[in-house]
């Protein structure tokens, strides 16, 4: 099994400074250097590799609340994008041993090789409680500048997420065809088998899409084409799609006016399904507003209730912004709510049937309770094509 030296013992010092003046001193367990970002936390106990490679974390320093991270190493199969997009990673303990037959290397080596800064050995729970009470904050993670005052100053001067377009940093440059299906670990219920060239064609509008989304869509027999999030409605419709999927992505959805416009144009023409940022963009396209949550929802245990059935699904979430209920236009109805804080977790367009959810039915990491939404999209495309 791969083993590296105890990163806690002789590792260089790393510091994490917050804009409110708090500084945490620990050991560096990733690459050296300095980064800034919004400091957030994720409460999942498994799936650190999926979290690391989730492009939605672009611009953020992610704290894992579970203290033992790296236990099962890393492997090629479990990534959600070709490389991590986040700014930095914070853990209590970084395992020096990777113990799992699927492991291909240690977490620490992975972080170094992908140039991700990471700090270990700090009181992550204290940090989380700080974020919970003060809200998500800007922070600086450094192994080069260890002067507290200087780091706090840098944190204060670093750009926040609000008003920034981070999508351009993680979306693909050009269009591509997606072929990969699901892994052997995920059992999905397939209503109809793949149907070759006659299969529905789904265009995914990629704002920083997690790969498990196209895997799910592909596994249901669709042809899948991926377009960059900046694509126009015209470019999209040229693909002759059976349905358009709006992906997740990093940061604030409000400045992405190009996407609002595109989606508004698409809605009357084609079935649309959105996840996470895709959900926020759909709402914005319909005239709703979004707002920044105090510290967001990030984890794999968020309960969401489907209002029509009262059924609760345990969901994966990763978002710092949400759709504002007061601003919701008449054309949108709320289909799902987050049971913890009652925020909107899903909407449906009353006329077009387009729908979206704030959470991640593709999971990765997280529970598989919400796979039915992919079936729902499938059904809608089928009905539209029959009509």
């Amino acid at each position: 099994m791969p083993e590296s030296n105890n990163p806690h013992a002789d590792a260089p010092v790393a510091k994490l400074a917050l804009e409110d003046g708090t500084v945490y001193t620990g050991k560096s367990v990733g690459a050296g250097g300095e980064v800034s970002g919004e400091v957030v936390f994720n409460t999942a106990m498994t799936g650190y590799q999926e979290i690391l490679t989730d492009p939605s974390y672009c611009g953020q320093i992610v704290t894992m609340t579970y203290p033992e991270i790296g236990n099962y190493g890393v492997n090629e199969a479990d990534i959600e994008h070709q490389k991590p997009a986040l700014s930095g990673f914070v853990v209590r303990e970084s395992s020096r041993i990777a113990s799992n037959y699927r492991s291909e290397g240690s977490l620490s080596d992975y972080l170094v090789s992908h140039n991700v800064l990471a700090i270990a050995g700090i009181d992550t729970r204290a940090l989380v409680r700080r974020i919970r009470t003060e809200g998500a904050m800007r922070g600086v993670l450094s192994t080069v500048d260890l002067d507290d005052e200087s780091l706090i100053e840098k944190a204060k001067n670093s750009p926040g997420l609000v008003g920034r377009d981070l999508v351009r940093e993680v979306m693909p440059a050009q269009h591509s065809v997606w072929e990969q299906g699901l892994d052997e670990w995920t059992a999905v219920h397939l209503e109809d088998p793949p149907a070759g060239d006659d299969a529905p064609h789904v265009v995914c509008l990629d704002f920083g899409m997690k790969w498990n989304i196209p895997r799910h869509i592909r596994a249901r027999g669709n042809r899948v084409t991926i377009l960059p999030g900046t694509a126009s409605a015209e470019e999209i419709m040229q693909q002759n799609p059976s349905g358009v999927f709006l992906s997740n992505g990093p940061g604030d959805p409000e400045p992405l006016e190009y996407a609002h416009k595109t989606i508004a144009e698409l809605l009357p023409q084609v079935p649309v399904f959105g996840i996470c940022m895709g959900h926020q963009l759909l709402a914005l396209a319909c005239g709703a507003k979004t707002f920044k949550l105090k510290f967001g929802h990030r984890g794999v245990n968020q309960p969401v209730q489907e209002l029509a059935t009262s059924k609760v699904e345990i969901t994966t979430q990763n978002h710092g912004f949400a759709v504002e209920e007061e601003s919701l236009p008449d054309c949108l109805e709320i289909t799902h709510r987050n049971l913890n804080d009652n925020t909107i977790a899903g909407v449906r367009h009353k006329e077009t049937g387009a729908f979206s959810v704030q959470y991640h039915p593709e999971a990765a990491s997280g529970p598989h309770d919400s796979h039915y939404l992919f079936e729902q999209f499938q059904k809608q495309m089928r009905q539209t094509s029959q009509a």
């Binding site: 936390f41 498994t46 609340t65 699927r102 989380v128 009262s310 529970p367």
Partner: protein, 1081 residues
């Protein structure tokens, strides 16, 4: 709200006495259920035979029945109470089985009682092997390939499908004996043949071997709308092959990728849905192949379990409480999460710490038992610890185990570097055969130069766990490389503490005292902080004051409010001699403190208990009970007082150290507690009060022992000092026995002296529990033992009120109690053991022992009399007088209550069951009735000693008891039984004109008594032993009786009581009455 309004009254069945595999966790779940259902306005009827439980407190239910858990007795309760529903899933396997019996015998149908939580067909589907397998195959989940067979021929056919190596397991053997792994065809044939011979039904299971696979558990909850959540995942440190109850386990799962974890979650949801558990909690076990990831479903418990108690304590999510509410119709999302208050119970807890549970064994009590850990559970208790790393939680759990270890090595138990250092053979043997304390041998192996891979190869323990142990040892080596304690820097100290090292380990490494290390550490500024257990990894604010210590930056303890805090020290892991009775006392201390306006603070490390329910006290610290951990809490919360007399021996052992460190121990002073244990001081006190003690002496050498013996005379009772539960205590009738047992006692005493007393033969033992406030002393209960003196008081049956002792003797006992209490200045509880012996035709009262603290019998006294004994004592300790509390007289019930002990012999094949001065029972039951005879009958039925109505009784008496044979024989034949006896007794009976059939002794060939037992031709054995030990003829007979489920009575006194009970059972029916009705004036 969907709360069901069509049901009003709900019957709950408890789990009966504490046995191996079923302990306090079901008191915890039952108590939660009672509270939850009454909170919702339902009337609760509770049946349980175990008086030492919180759930059988009359405040907990509307009607409480302490009755045997047979369907016949429960039917009487149902007939009387007419409940609308029965909730069967909260009383362990016992409760579930009782419910299934009621269903099978048509009782539920007859009285229109609905089973809620899980229906009978669902329970059957989960519990019956073949049905379960079929269900799993239906939903596409892998199960262990295997089949039961009745011949070698069939077995070979199954082998073709299963492959080698495989497991061969004879059906229905005791303790799973005869189970083995076949590695080749020759072995296989031999094992199958042997197994078929051993199995009483000539049946063996041939199954693929999954030994060495990784083992996991998932705790699942489901509501009536099919919302399903996972509460906790648990990974076993010990690989498949060791029962999960005997494994070190860790929460959450550590070595699964999310892909694997989600597959297990999917499977868990599919299983609970397919089996059809409508509402409540279930536990599902999985095995995962470490190299291929292949996953197999092992089994499912369609009820709350030991693991769900662990999961509740590990996450803060109250599984039993929520399960009870789901059973009456609520949906998960309608119930609040108590801890966060703002969010709902419908979510999956996430934790930001690591939880380690370690089982506690009692093999020293059963030297003849096989101490190898197998798929049959053998542990008697467990401890749990919480830390911010696995290393920290593991070492905390090891010191919480209370076996003399203060972490992983580096303490007085550590053999490494001593002349007793284990050699390679021993290390290898102890690694390859799972047993108690294997973890310490893993450390020795690392010390001896083994690598993680090598140890993994031998033990199959996941390398992740092993590497963390290696890290602990590397830290130990870094410390050991330093010259002196003062060379440990602040950073190094903090890192060391973060790995869970105790001050005691550092003291051992540097040749310092624990207090010196403590002082130095505090000088460095390295002190623990306390963090909350909050179900949500701090995502939401926690309102529940449930804490653990760790070495981090931020402390979360609230500031002290207006109320003063009082800390209660719990009993730690269950063991023989210290169990649920003390947890009961601690809980009552907490309730009483809250009643009189204090903030109660509980400290305990046992996850099974009610005391570690966050609802029980105002603050809960889930911590090991050591001087260091308790002092740290003391420093953090500055309590007004600390109660050390309720948690059994555990807190008493700490009392001196705590008191010396300035901790205010309330109640009876530590000096008094120690004085009662000091032989010379105590003897002086007895003489001063003009009381009597059996002649006794104390010896440090064999010569001294012999000199003392000359004064004391035979029979002599020999025991090591400072050892609990009568360990290595023996009665000697001659010099040879004396020499042998004194030598053994010295060995066990480890340098402490050996105590020698005159043994009072044929004396009646009496236990007294009393409460004293320094001025007044009120007796709470006088218990007359049924077995004569010489049987450990914890193993002996006893009755309240006394049934045989004359009033003037009781008067003498009362007077002696008050004198002692006053003289010793006892404040709180006191227990005295007396022996009453006929001397020259007159009863003489001797004092055997005085313990100024809560005794094992406190809950029994409370249940028998209705007096809140522990609560009263608590208030007295906090300064109230008995007069103020209105406690002015000894409560004497109108009914008779009998406590009977319950033993774990069925788990330990071949062990001799004869009772002696060494305590071996794990639990107790109570029988209560207007008459002694019926109360005794109930106590026997509740203890699963089924007194027969007809058939054959084997009579065999030792020489000193022979005189009683004829009278016993007449009584039994008078009741319509036929007698069996071996040559001597048979001749005696025949001569007296009592009809008897002679059977052969084992040595006389076949058919002998063992054959009669096998054939079901013996219904009861009355055997007073003349020799002890599993190798004697008698020992074999008694062991066989256990194996074939034939009750075996081993004392004349119990035989008399049994005859009275059988007479009463012939004469009339047993009736039931709730405690609430019994206590009515």
């Amino acid at each position: 709200m969907p709360r069901r309004n069509d049901i009003k009254k709900i019957l709950l069945i408890g789990s009966g006495p504490i046995v191996i595999g079923q302990a306090c966790e079901f008191d915890y779940s039952g108590t939660q259920a009672c509270k939850a259902l009454r909170e919702e306005g339902y009337e609760v009827v509770l049946v349980n035979s175990n008086p030492a439980t919180i759930m059988t407190d009359p405040d907990m239910a509307d009607a409480t029945y302490i009755e045997p858990l047979t369907w016949q007795m429960i039917e009487k309760v149902i007939a009387k109470e007419r409940p609308d529903a029965l909730l069967p899933t909260l009383g362990g396997q016992t409760g579930l089985n009782a419910a299934m019996d009621l269903q099978e015998h048509g009782v539920l149908e007859k009285y229109g009682v609905e089973m809620i939580g899980a229906r009978a067909d669902v329970i059957a589907k989960a519990e019956e092997r073949d049905q379960f397998k079929a269900a799993m195959e239906k939903i596409g989940l892998d199960v262990c390939v295997g089949e039961t067979v009745n011949s070698l021929e069939e077995a070979r056919q199954v082998l073709d499908r299963v492959g080698l190596p495989c497991v061969v397991r004879p059906s229905f053997t005791m303790g799973g004996s005869g189970s083995a792994i076949a590695y080749n065809r020759d072995d296989f044939d031999a094992l199958v043949q042997n197994g078929l011979d051993q199995s009483p039904v000539t049946e063996v299971l041939v199954e693929e071997s999954i030994i060495g696979w990784k083992e996991y558990e998932m705790e699942v909850m489901r509501d009536v709308d099919d919302n399903v959540v996972i509460i906790c995942s648990i990974e076993n440190f010990d690989a498949m092959g060791v029962h999960t109850g005997d494994s070190i386990t860790v929460a959450p799962a550590q070595t699964l990728t999310d892909k694997e974890y989600q597959r297990m979650r999917d499977a868990s949801l599919a299983v609970i849905r397919e089996i059809g558990v409508e509402t409540g909690g279930s536990n599902i076990q999985f095995a995962v192949h470490p190299d291929t990831g292949r996953m197999i479903v092992i089994e499912m418990n369609p009820r709350v379990s030991r693991s769900s108690a662990l999961a509740s304590k590990a996450t803060g999510f109250p599984i039993a409480k929520i399960a009870a509410k789901l059973a009456v119709g609520y949906r998960l999302w309608e119930l609040p999460n108590d801890i966060t208050q703002k969010t709902k119970a419908c979510f999956e807890p996430t934790i930001d710490y690591v939880v380690t549970k370690i089982p506690r064994f009692a093999f020293e009590k059963f030297p003849e038992a096989d101490a190898t850990l197998t798929t049959q559970m053998k542990s008697v208790g467990e401890t749990m610890a919480i830390g911010r790393s696995f290393k920290e939680s593991l070492q905390k759990a090891l010191r919480g185990l209370e076996v003399g270890a203060f972490g992983l090595g580096c303490d007085t138990k550590d053999r490494w570097g001593t002349e007793n250092q284990p050699d390679d053979d021993e290390i290898r043997a102890r690694l390859s055969t799972p047993g108690d304390g294997r973890i310490f041998y893993i450390r020795y192996a690392f010390k001896a130069g083994y690598s993680v891979d090598q140890i993994h190869e031998i033990t199959h323990i996941d390398p992740w766990f092993l590497d963390h142990i290696a890290q602990i040892i590397e830290q130990e080596d870094r410390l050991a490389a330093l010259d002196k304690l003062e060379d440990v820097t602040e950073d190094m100290m903090r890192e060391t503490k973060r790995m869970g090292f105790s001050d005691r380990q550092l003291a051992h490494l540097f040749g310092k005292t624990e207090m010196q290390v403590r002082a130095y550490r505090k000088d460095l500024g390295v002190t623990p902080v306390y963090k909350s257990v909050d179900t949500c990894a701090a995502e939401f604010e926690a309102y529940t004051p449930y804490y653990y210590s760790t070495y981090e930056q931020e402390d979360e303890l609230p500031l002290e409010g207006d109320q003063q805090r009082v800390m209660i020290l719990g009993g730690g892991p269950n063991r023989i001699g210290q169990g649920i009775e003390f947890d009961y006392c601690c809980c009552h201390a907490s309730f009483a403190l809250r009643e009189i306006g204090y903030q109660s603070v509980m400290v305990n490390s046992n996850p099974e208990t009610v005391s570690t329910d966050y609802d029980t006290s105002d603050m809960l610290f889930f911590e090991p009970l050591t001087i260091e951990d308790v002092l740290n809490i003391h420093d953090a919360i500055a309590p007004e007082g600390v109660i050390a007399q309720f948690g059994g021996q555990t807190p008493l052992n700490l009392a001196r150290g705590l008191s010396d460190a300035g901790v205010p121990i309330v109640g009876t002073s530590v000096d008094t507690i120690e004085a009662a244990e000091d032989r010379e001081l105590f003897q002086a006190l007895i003489n001063e009060l003009d009381l009597k003690q059996p002649p006794s002496g104390i010896a440090r050498t064999m010569d001294e022992a012999r000199r003392e013996l000359a004064e004391i005379g035979f029979p002599a009772l020999v025991r090591p000092s400072f050892v609990l539960g009568g360990r290595a205590m023996e009665i000697c009738y001659d010099k040879a026995q004396f020499d042998r047992y004194v030598a053994e006692a010295f060995a066990v005493a480890e340098g402490q002296p050996v105590l020698i007393d005159r043994f009072l033969e044929d004396a009646t033992e009496v236990d007294v529990d009393a409460v004293c406030d320094g001025q007044d002393c009120i007796i709470m209960g006088i218990m007359e033992h049924i077995e004569e003196a010489g049987v450990h008081s914890g193993d002996s049956a006893c009755a309240i009120p006394p049934f045989n002792l004359p009033q003037h003797v009781l008067g003498e006992i009362r007077e002696a109690t008050k004198k002692l209490a006053h003289k010793m200045n006892v404040v709180g509880l006191m227990n005295i053991q007396f022996a009453v012996k006929m001397e020259d035709g007159k009863p003489v009262v001797y004092i055997l022992e005085v313990n100024p603290r809560a005794s094992r019998t406190v809950p029994f006294v409370a249940k028998a009399t209705g007096a809140r004994v522990a609560g009263i004592a608590t208030k007295v300790m906090m300064g109230k007088t008995l007069k103020e509390l209105g406690v002015d007289r000894e409560p004497i019930p109108r009914h008779v209550a009998i406590k009977e002990a319950v033993f774990p012999f069925r788990k330990f094949a071949g062990v001799d069951i004869v009772l002696g001065p060494e305590m071996r029972s794990t639990g107790e039951v109570m029988g209560v009735s207007e008459k002694f005879s019926l109360a005794f009958a109930k106590s026997q039925i509740a203890a699963n000693t089924v007194l027969p109505e007809s058939g054959n009784i084997f009579l065999s008496l030792s020489a000193p008891h022979k005189h009683a044979a004829v009278e016993l024989g007449r009584a039994l034949t008078g009741l319509g039984f036929r007698l069996l006896a071996t040559v001597g007794t048979a001749a005696q009976l025949t001569e007296a004109g009592v009809e008897v059939r002679r059977v052969k002794k084992i040595a006389e060939g076949k058919p002998n008594l063992i054959d009669y037992l096998k054939n079901g031709d013996v219904q009861l054995i009355l055997n007073t032993p003349s020799g002890k030990g599993a190798r004697t003829d008698e020992g074999k007979i008694r062991a066989a009786a256990v194996q074939y489920g034939v009750p075996c009575i081993t004392t004349l006194a119990a035989a008399d009581a049994a005859i009275r009970a059988m007479e009463a059972l012939k004469a009339g029916e047993m009736d039931v009455l709730s405690l609430q009705d019994r206590y009515k004036e």
